[in-house]
């Protein structure tokens, strides 16, 4: 009798646990995959997430979140790209075995369509980048603004150009 009662109690507990998981935990888990905040650290088992943000005649803009330990290939359309780092990332030319270049948050790089590249995280958080595919190609070479050129200009109060 006691054995039957225990089995019955265990069975009830199992049902209760399944109901609890279904009602409370699983929906949260699903939400975590669909609408997780970009700042939240992601486990390495989490898949890469690419989200198309906008597209027009000139750009195709997407956002890519690569969890720690994952490498995200970019530039598969053979178009020139502009990569904007929203977190600390490493950017490497995929076709060459070069050392990945660490980029701080806010860094912007032009990536030629002939050089498929990869993005990975270089910090304790996932790598978050905005990638703009340029729909037009220009033969003119992209030049990074460097010294001795004056690349930075102050914004001054009250001045109108």
């Amino acid at each position: 009798m006691l054995g039957r009662k225990s089995a019955s109690t265990l069975g009830n507990m199992k049902i209760f646990c399944y109901a609890f998981l279904t009602l409370f935990l699983l929906p949260r888990n699903e939400f975590a995959q669909v609408g997780a905040k970009p700042d939240e650290a992601s486990p390495s088992s989490e898949p890469l997430r690419e989200r198309m943000l906008d597209e027009n005649e000139f750009f195709r803009v997407s956002r890519l979140d690569a969890p720690i330990g994952k490498v995200a290939l970019i530039g598969s359309h053979k178009r020139d790209l502009i990569v904007i780092a929203l977190s600390e990332i490493s950017l490497s030319a995929h076709s060459q075995s070069v050392t990945p270049v660490p980029l701080p948050e806010g860094a912007v790089r032009f990536v030629s369509g002939e050089t498929p590249s990869a993005v990975s995280s270089s910090s304790a958080a996932s790598a978050q980048v905005v990638v703009a595919d340029l729909k037009q190609h220009w033969d003119a070479e992209i030049r990074e603004c460097k010294e001795p050129k004056k690349c930075s200009h102050p914004i001054v109060m009250g001045r109108q150009k």
Partner: protein, 111 residues
């Protein structure tokens, strides 16, 4: 008794810098800029040209309030906005505003 006054622009010896614009790279057709603006500041930029048109990709690195040809947008950090606006006004709130602008220039009359 110590008296404090709110500093006005006229009290300064020189023009007060409230931010910085940095050209990152260009090939004459595509230009990327980084902007920063102190809290409370507003930057108005004109992208009007009689010969060409700029197509803008605006990436907020911090929360900013932006107006694209008078259309107000409250952008969160990491948010992206594309526009062909010729007048863009960005305001910093309680904290410094930082954003990136990528301009793609195309002629108005290709022929």
């Amino acid at each position: 008794m110590q008296r404090t006054e709110k500093m006005q622009p006229s009290d300064c010896d020189g023009p007060a810098e409230i931010g910085e614009t940095t050209l990152l790279f260009t090939n004459g057709f595509v230009m990327a800029y980084r902007h920063s603006l102190q809290s409370g500041g507003t930057l108005s930029s004109s992208y009007y040209s009689s010969a060409s048109r700029d197509h803008l990709l605006f990436i907020a690195l911090s929360d900013v309030h932006a107006s694209f040809d008078g259309e107000d947008e409250q952008l969160k950090a990491g948010q992206v906005y594309t526009s062909d606006a010729t007048q863009v006004e960005v305001s910093a709130g309680q904290t410094e505003a930082r954003w990136i602008v990528v301009r793609v220039n195309s002629p108005k009359h290709p022929n």
